[in-house]
């Protein structure tokens, strides 16, 4: 589904990601883990178009067969055409807007197409109204799924932290992605919230959306991932199922900081 090959990202003299190659298969949860500063978020930003890689390729294949070279696409096209959605490490909701509005903004491109250059919608004609209703229905579906239907008309910044995380995921899902990239979704959640998050992510996977995930919370990673890629200092040090990775001496060394001097 997603094939990253020889991805390199340099910031001036610093090489944050160095010739990284990995694959994320369709319908799986792929986790990218590694110590702080290993380059996880940089990989993410390359995949979702926020950084343009120094070299290397990122190829995405849709289940329908359409192929996209993400490293060449402008940032917003990656979401609108290639259908890769993402969330952020520090939540980025539209804080002053309501929960429902957050989900409607996410459906911007579809609704915008129904407005007929604004004229149809400005006059309040039927075809736009139908599209708007469908948008609200979709938002309602997701609000029910994340358990925030009662708070649809509240301002997003008034939600508790865990609910904001769930809302951000729902918002990303409203663009109908084929792949959802989550940057530390469990950060700052209590055990109960993090369990609810696991259920939500597994249900998203069951719907056929692939997930790419950066996470520090090993409980979440080990329980829901099908496939784990371990990074350290911008290089891949391990790649496999949770069991394989857990047993890999290189991973243990990276996390415990052993063996740096004799390599």
């Amino acid at each position: 589904m997603l094939a990253v090959s020889n991805l390199t990202m340099r910031f001036g003299g610093l090489t944050a990601v160095d010739k990284l190659s990995f694959e994320a298969r369709a319908g799986e949860v792929t986790a990218v883990i590694g110590p702080n500063g290993a380059g996880k978020t940089t990989v993410f930003n390359c995949v979702t178009g926020f950084y343009r890689p120094s070299s290397g390729g990122i190829a995405l294949t849709h289940p329908g067969g359409a192929r996209f070279a993400l490293e060449k696409m402008p940032g917003h096209r990656i979401a609108s055409r290639a259908k890769v959605a993402r969330t952020f490490q520090n939540i980025r909701l539209f804080a002053g807007m309501t929960v429902l509005e957050n989900l409607l903004v996410a459906q911007h491109n579809r609704l915008m197409a129904a407005t007929g250059f604004g004229v149809v919608a400005l006059l309040g004609l039927g075809s736009y109204r139908a599209a708007e209703r469908a948008g609200v229905e979709k938002a309602r579906h997701w609000l029910e799924r994340i358990g925030l239907i009662d708070r649809a008309n509240d301002v997003a910044s008034a939600l508790p932290y865990g609910a904001q995380r769930r809302l951000e995921i729902a918002r990303a899902m409203c663009i109908d992605p084929v792949m959802l990239c989550l940057d530390e979704p469990a950060a700052g959640l209590n055990p109960r919230e993090s369990e609810a998050l696991n259920q939500l992510l597994l249900s998203i996977r069951a719907d056929g959306c692939s997930l790419l995930l950066i996470e520090h919370d090993m409980g979440v990673v080990m329980r829901i991932s099908d496939h784990i890629v371990v990074l350290d200092h911008g290089r891949k040090i391990s790649d496999g199922t949770p069991e394989q990775v857990r047993a890999d001496p290189a991973v243990i060394a990276a996390y415990l900081g052993e063996g740096d001097d004799d390599e």
Binding site: T48, G49, F50, G75, H76, R77, I78, A79, S80, R81, A85, R86, F88, R92, L93, F94, A95, G96, M97, T98, L100, E101, L104, V105, A106, Q107, H108, N109, L111, M112, T115, G118, A121, L122, G124, E132, V136, A139, R140, L143, I149, A152, N153, R171, A172, C174, I175
Partner: protein, 425 residues
Amino acid sequence: MRAALRDAFLSAAIALGLFAPLVGLVLDNGDQGLVLRGRPIAAAVLVAMVFFGRLGMHLWADRPGKEARAVKRGLVVPTGANRFLAPALLAFAVLLPLTGSRYYVDLGTLVLTYVMLGWGLNIVVGLAGLLDLGYVAFYAVGAYSYALLAETFGLGFWTCLPLAGILAAFWGVLLGFPVLRLRGDYLAIVTLAFGEIIRVVLINWVAVTHGPNGITDIPRPTLFGLRFSMDGGEGTVAGFFDIEPETIQRVVFLYYLILALALLTNWVTIRLRRMPLGRAWEALREDEIACRSLGIDVTNTKLTAFAIGAMFGGFAGAFFATRQAFISPESFTFIESATVLAIVVLGGLGSQLGVALAALVMVGGLEMLRDLLSTLGEQMGSELFSGLAGDLPTYRMLIFGLALVVMMVLRPRGLVSGRTPTAVL
């Protein structure tokens, strides 16, 4: 109390340091050149005002029950105000010409011009969150578009009105392309420069714009092809309706014209806010990066905000040209941009009602105050009041500044804060 007194003394000391040289000393024309004259009483009055004002502020802030009120103020959502105040204002605006007073109708036209400019700028600043300090440039483009098209090709007002809007929008896009990658302060500085560039071009491109002399004899608008003319003959409004030709007819017509244009701006803005485009603008103001991650074309969205805001500025400019029948670069200085921006900020970013109220207070209120003072001066034969009335335009900016400071202290989010959601479940 002791702390309040000490703070008041401190403020008075600072005021003394400022006002003693600035107000206390005056240069006058003496018999032999300039003489330095003292004005101790004026300075002392100002220092005393600062002292008691500061003391009063402290006592007001420390009065009991402060917390409870603060909480309440935070929760006030002015839906009630919106529901009753807006129709009341609209009814007032529609009925105003019935007073038959040329003074009030002229003043109303001026206020409505600023309301329209405020609503237009509100799209750019209030909704899309792009700080534009050069809005007057689009006003100027609209005004000169109409004036030049009328002069060169003899086109009428109604043909030129959409053209002026389109040309202003075109300049909005042209400016937008290079600068919209900038954010916040940087964008503000570039738009400020753009406003000045347009004005300087208007002054110096004498062959086209007649430079500082401006353009005269700009044609007045017609009512379905009927002219407002004093001769009362064939093809004039007075002749068609068989009534006595009077100047007030044209004045009232212009008033309703700007009222209609302003309401059009308002209607389009309200509709757009509930549409994907308007929501994208507000989302852009909240978080540009999140917008990008959701597949929203940030550049296009900003450009549409700029273009639509500029278009309404252009409409207002064309109206200004036809109303004055004379325009010159003098009318399009930075002060105009600052006034419109002050109206938007004072009214409450994004609030349509707030902008209208702020324009009413800042433009209409100041004019009424001057009128009141000069009437008082005449009736009481008081030098002080008539002098103040004459000086009031000079103090305009001081009053603006004071109003802004007071607003920042009392209602930091503007006269009407709080936004209505664009969709509810």
